[in-house]
């Protein structure tokens, strides 16, 4: 019988778990094209003669053509078994570290690498699906916070389709360099002196308030090749002998550099908004799991959105980081139509169901400590902050209509969102 990709992975795990039950710590590894290997630690408990061949045969049956040519590796015969058993990407099934899974040679690994304590001032705005008004919301939030006298830095991390940058500033006034420049220049340790931030002239905060922009690319000019940089932006780098710098670290360094520049030019930003790109992309993964303390998850109430978030949450649940991550999330209901009450109730029900399936605790009777808030719990991560649909923002040309954000309809549409997010970010009640 033909064994397909998913079945091969499940089958390999069954074989691996069997070995773990007999006391051999085992990691099942899936390589860059989906082939599976078993790495088992026989340094403390010997494997009987012929057993490795027997295990390889079972793996061959379970994984079919997805069984790796190096199907079974024994720690006692490896040069560097700890390269597997101590790899930070191994997802162990329990604290005893007897059985683990390891994905190698692929993008997407950053989704499960959660940072312990990202800076509290950083907020990411993310939508599984694009086109939900995320960049516009970033602009509105930055303006609102600045009007309260705060220093706000907005980092445009939507490198493939920059959105918030052009809203915040005329591109002719961009700083000379952007995030992609930091990524390519830092790769050759040439990032000193890059001017990465500029103060928005489109938003003038009241009093002390100010908004700074770190665009994805710098001032458009002859000879400035954005695409050539973007094509090199996502790689991890070999910097020192035997080690490298991950894409996550590179992006983190770029964001930190923009914060330092604002601090140097004015003052330390009170709030840093990371406008993350949509979809299951590594940029979003790093922003959400490692850079930000609060993640605003934009969603429209439809099946494909919840199906997308389910995929994302599944990874967090399986990696054992659901508890950490759920505390950093808040849903945003984007594009809420005129019939808001009915729409939002449906949104709450679907959101609660999606969060409960993967991120909340199983609510069993009598377990008072289990975290499983009901649909209408206002403080729960799934309970959405609404942004109402505004027809006049569809296809907006912000250059031609600079005062778009001051219209009554826009102000009304964002009122709840601005109040609730400001309270979440800055504490207290927003005024």
């Amino acid at each position: 019988m033909t064994v397909r990709f998913d079945e091969a992975w499940a089958g390999a795990q069954t074989v691996g778990r069997g070995l773990a039950e007999f006391g051999w710590p085992t990691v099942v590894v899936r390589d860059m094209i989906g082939r599976v290997s078993l790495v088992l630690d026989d340094r403390h408990q010997e494997l009987a003669d012929g057993s490795a061949e027997e295990i390889a045969a079972r793996l061959g049956e379970s994984a079919g053509r997805f069984a790796s040519p190096a199907a079974v590796l024994r720690a006692s015969e490896m040069f560097a078994p700890d390269g597997v058993f101590e790899d930070r990407s191994v997802v162990w099934s329990d604290g005893a570290r007897l059985f683990g899974r390891l994905e190698r040679g692929v993008v997407g690994g950053e989704w499960t690498q959660v940072a312990d304590a990202p800076p509290a001032r950083r907020v990411s705005l993310y939508g599984f699906k694009g086109g939900v008004g995320r960049s516009t919301a970033s602009f509105m939030l930055a303006r609102h916070l600045a009007e309260q006298g705060r220093c706000v830095l907005v980092v445009d991390l939507d490198l493939e389709s920059p959105g918030v940058g052009p809203l915040l500033e005329d591109q002719d006034r961009y700083p000379p360099f952007g995030i992609v420049d930091h990524l390519v220049e830092a790769a050759v340790r040439n990032d000193d002196g890059l001017e990465l931030v500029g103060r928005s002239t489109r938003i003038r905060g009241s009093g002390n308030g100010e908004v700074w922009l770190a665009p994805s690319g710098g001032l458009p000019r002859a000879g400035y090749d954005y695409l050539a940089k973007l094509n090199r932006a996502y790689s991890s780098l070999p910097l020192d002998r035997g080690s490298g710098t991950s894409f996550a670290q590179r992006l983190s360094d770029a964001v930190a550099a923009t914060e330092e520049q604002v601090t140097h030019l004015s003052r330390s930003p009170d709030v840093v908004l990371l406008d993350s790109r949509a979809g299951l992309h590594d940029i979003a993964a790093v922003a959400i799991t490692q850079l930000a303390d609060l993640n605003l998850l934009f969603a429209a109430d439809n099946r494909q959105t919840w199906s997308g978030y389910s995929m994302l949450f599944t990874q967090w649940r399986d990696a054992g980081i659901a508890t950490v991550m759920r505390d950093r999330l808040k849903a945003v209901a984007a594009l809420v139509p005129a019939d808001a009450a009915g729409y939002l109730q449906s949104f709450r029900d679907h959101a609660q169901s999606c969060f409960a399936d993967f991120l909340y605790d199983d609510a069993t009777a009598g377990d008072g400590d289990a975290y499983n808030p009901p649909p209408n719990d206002v403080d729960a991560p799934h309970y959405p902050i609404p942004i109402h649909f505004v027809g006049e923002l569809v296809g907006l040309d912000s250059d031609a209509r600079e005062s778009w954000h001051r219209s009554e309809l826009v102000t009304a549409a964002y009122r709840d969102f601005l109040g609730a997010t400001t309270s979440l970010i800055c504490g207290g009640t927003d005024v």
Partner: protein
């Protein structure tokens, strides 16, 4: 990536000639042997990881 790091570094076997394998133990230092052994182990480890990652056909 680790291979690239090795390839771009200075060749750790510079100064070693193939005929040196017949040399007596008294004509090279323990340090020299240790250095070569360390690098050889490193190459073997990276090759092992490359197999697991699926980079080796």
């Amino acid at each position: 990536m680790q291979f690239i790091a090795l390839l771009t570094a200075t060749n750790p076997f510079t100064g070693w000639n193939i005929a040196d394998r017949y040399a007596g133990g008294n004509v090279f230092t323990q340090q020299c042997a240790n250095d070569h052994l360390t690098v050889a182990m490193n190459v073997a480890q990276i090759h092992e990881q490359a197999i697991l990652n699926g980079f080796v056909p």
